[in-house]
């Protein structure tokens, strides 16, 4: 079937973007694409991290390996990572992985000379490339906070202790080691669709409604005091003018009066965690179907949080790019197609030609 395309045209709606956080809706595609994007953001978008440490002097309380490990976990700004080479693919440096195309050099030289404990932080790491530096977490938005930003503490030194080292940072992916993962959290959820059967809901007393609303561990439903609805003859226990009381419905009560009960509304559908608690409650109350909840199979809400190595929006774009590259890599090579053509005649025969 030449020319037939089964392509989809997904839609995106961004809700919120910050440097290291974003929330967006992805629609008109299926879970396989959403999950592929999530998996790639976590494990296959490249970043730069310290991969090799040569320690010259270390008289600190932490051993060399401990410090090397901590250095590896320091997030480095990695806008350059997508265009950088993996050191194993680099032909400029004979595979020792120490050339400018595939690595960035860092130096750290700190000695404590005072009686006060000295914090060695990520700010003490001196980079050979100004585009690849430890991520700065100083929060400019909270100016009232006067604590000076000191970066990520690597080790603390006492008087006379010294740390001197050279480190090589390389490009890598989270699949290799988690230190290369640009993602703090990447999650998606199906968008829930919640229906309230109004007729059935009306047959509940306010007490039952409250019970139903409160059965959800997250605040999905609420009782709307504004949007009141006539429910029928009820008797108010207690003084109706001072307290809402508990309306008791039914004709058994002689002194019934007309009251207005509040409606159950959906406050925040996305707070629903697919826990089924409300549905179970409805069933226990003998009113199955009073609330119906479905997951929209083609609609996803993503939250992306990064370590700061790349911006959240860039992380999503890089993930799409990486997925495209991966798809390109799994295309059939020409010699595979040729090898199959040798079967051509047999193939045509088998297909009933």
């Amino acid at each position: 079937m030449e020319g037939v395309s089964y392509q989809r045209f997904p839609k995106i709606k961004i809700r919120e973007v910050k440097d290291d956080f974003m929330k967006f809706e992805l629609r008109e595609t299926d879970a396989s694409i959403a999950n592929a994007l999530r998996r790639i953001m976590i494990a296959e978008v490249p970043t730069i991290a310290i991969d090799l440490v040569e320690i010259e002097v270390n008289s600190s309380v932490l051993n060399d390996e401990f410090i090397s490990h901590r250095l590896g976990l320091v997030p480095l700004t990695s806008e350059r990572a997508m265009s950088m080479r993996f050191s194993r693919d680099c032909d400029a440096c004979d595979g020792d992985g120490q050339c400018e195309y595939c690595s960035v050099e860092f130096y750290l030289r700190v000695k404590c000379l005072s009686d006060q404990t000295l914090d060695v932080t990520s700010k003490d790491l001196l980079s050979s490339d100004h585009t690849v530096v430890p991520v700065d977490y100083s929060d400019t938005s909270s100016s009232f906070d006067n604590t000076p930003n000191k970066g990520i503490i690597i080790v603390k030194l006492r008087r006379g202790q010294e740390l001197r080292l050279r480190a090589i940072a390389r490009k890598g992916i989270g699949k290799d080691h988690a230190k290369w993962s640009p993602a703090a959290t990447v999650t998606f959820m199906y968008e829930p669709e919640i229906y309230i059967n109004e007729d059935m809901m009306e047959s509940l007393t306010l007490e039952e409604k409250t019970e139903l609303v409160e059965s959800s561990p997250t605040k999905v439903f609420g009782i709307d005091p504004e949007n009141k609805q006539e429910t029928g003859k009820c008797m108010i226990v207690g003084n109706p003018s001072t307290s809402p009381g508990i309306p008791l419905c039914g004709s058994r009560w002689p002194n019934t009066i007309w009251v207005y009960a509040s409606m159950v509304i959906v406050v925040d559908p996305e707070a629903y965690t697919y826990d089924d608690e409300v549905l179970k409650k409805a069933e226990a109350m003998g009113k199955p179907g009073v609330v119906e909840i479905h997951a929209k199979e083609d609609s996803f809400i993503f939250t992306v949080e990064t370590t700061g190595a790349v911006k959240a929006s860039q992380l999503v774009l890089n993930a799409i790019e990486v997925l495209k590259q991966k798809l390109d890599a799994v295309r059939l090579s020409d010699d595979t197609v040729e090898a199959d053509d040798q079967f051509g005649e047999l193939g045509a025969h088998m297909r009933g030609g």
Binding site: M1, Y6, Q7, P10, V17, I33, K324, L327, R351, G352
Partner: protein
Amino acid sequence: MNAPDRYERFVVPEGVKKVSYERDTKIMNAATFTVEREDHTIGNIVRMQLHRDDNVLFAGYKLPHPLQYKILLRRLSFARHASSNTVQIQTTSQSSPMQAYNQAINDLDKELDHLKSQFEGELAKHTRDY
């Protein structure tokens, strides 16, 4: 020790083909594709895309073992009306597993292009608002 290198999880060894193709000897228009050093990320999206193809009767994938870094994609395809006349036979021959596979990848690629432009458009709109 004897632990394999970490990169073995995603670097195709020399002399090994990324994708190999094997025709099924017993079933018409059926084949198995072996993709080296890939996981559920690729396996699942290709499978789901193949399911959208009306000519594909069966498409499935498996990861034989968590420590064997490859996936097997198996699919069987032919036209829905594989009865007689020439046009339909052509249709049948045109939707070989290989073509279905290529089509799925092309469609996914286009979908991602679309997704990317959508995202960039939305992002531009969003950053302008601030």
